[in-house]
């Protein structure tokens, strides 16, 4: 029972809202973790502020009887930043690109109540290009992927995706297999 309950933290079918019958998720993509590292570091630094104040002014605060109040304010400060950290992580986690054997779904999460979902059927894919810009993107192997389409929305751009070259190959493979009617076999892990 407990093992079955804990399995949701280990394995997932990557199913999503609006998934068609027998539709198989080939890739689930998110922005590179490096992109979330900067805001998280800033929040982490802000969390150190009450600790620094406590270390410096501990004797002053206890002498004037402000220690209890200081600890409470610090507690509220940590609560606020805990919320801010997980707000950022939520936006990061929900901002996904799903590549299935039939279509590409780009879920662009801009805020908790602000989301744009675009869908592109694989037979409309015309051209895929990648763009890696700068030292960090080159070293950490992430970049933008642009998908040219035959649809009214001419371009799909997926930002800061890890291993863009590999993803480009997968998208082209899916598009080709859709045209030829042969199921795509994706080799190797992302």
């Amino acid at each position: 029972m407990i093992k079955a309950l804990l399995s949701i933290f280990q394995e997932s079918a990557n199913s999503f809202d609006g998934q068609e019958k027998d539709e198989e998720v080939i890739l689930l993509l998110r922005r590179h973790p490096f992109t979330i590292l900067l805001p998280l570091s800033l929040f982490g630094l802000a969390c150190l502020v009450p600790i620094a104040i406590g270390v410096i002014f501990w004797s002053y605060l206890s002498a004037h009887g402000w220690l209890d109040l200081f600890l409470l304010v610090s507690g509220v400060w940590f609560l606020a930043f805990w919320l801010a950290i997980f707000y950022s992580l939520t936006i990061y986690t929900l901002d996904t690109v799903i590549i299935t054997d039939r279509r590409i779904i780009d879920s662009d999460q801009r805020g908790l109540f602000n989301r744009k979902i675009s869908e592109l059927h694989s037979h409309r894919v015309q051209d895929v290009s990648t763009h890696t810009n700068g030292l960090i993107e080159t070293i950490l192997k992430f970049g933008d992927i642009t998908v040219q389409t035959a649809a009214s929305e001419k371009q799909f751009i997926f930002h800061q995706i890890p291993k863009p070259d590999r993803v480009k190959d997968v998208i082209m493979q899916v598009a080709r297999s859709r045209d030829s009617g042969v199921k795509a076999v994706i080799q190797g892990d992302m």
Partner: protein, 75 residues
């Protein structure tokens, strides 16, 4: 209990309610719209941390003697 004390307690309760309201919204988004394993892990860690931190905040609030603070404000 003085009026200032009541206001202080209501304010603390309000902050607590707002915090748990926001926590619910984030947890709902992670579990309802999250795809894959990662959002579930984040939700579990977030819930655990929220319970621990708000428990600590409640204990600190209970231990707080607000009379000197209220005296300072009312001066």
């Amino acid at each position: 209990m003085s009026t200032l004390e009541i206001i202080f307690n209501i304010l603390a309760a309000l902050i607590f309610l707002i915090y748990w309201g926001a926590t619910f919204i984030i947890l709902y988004h992670l579990t309802r719209f999250g795809i894959g394993v990662q959002p579930k892990k984040f939700a579990a860690v977030f819930l655990f941390g929220s319970v621990v931190l708000s428990g600590a905040a409640i204990i600190l609030f209970m231990n707080l003697d607000i009379k000197p603070l209220l005296l300072l404000i009312s001066r």
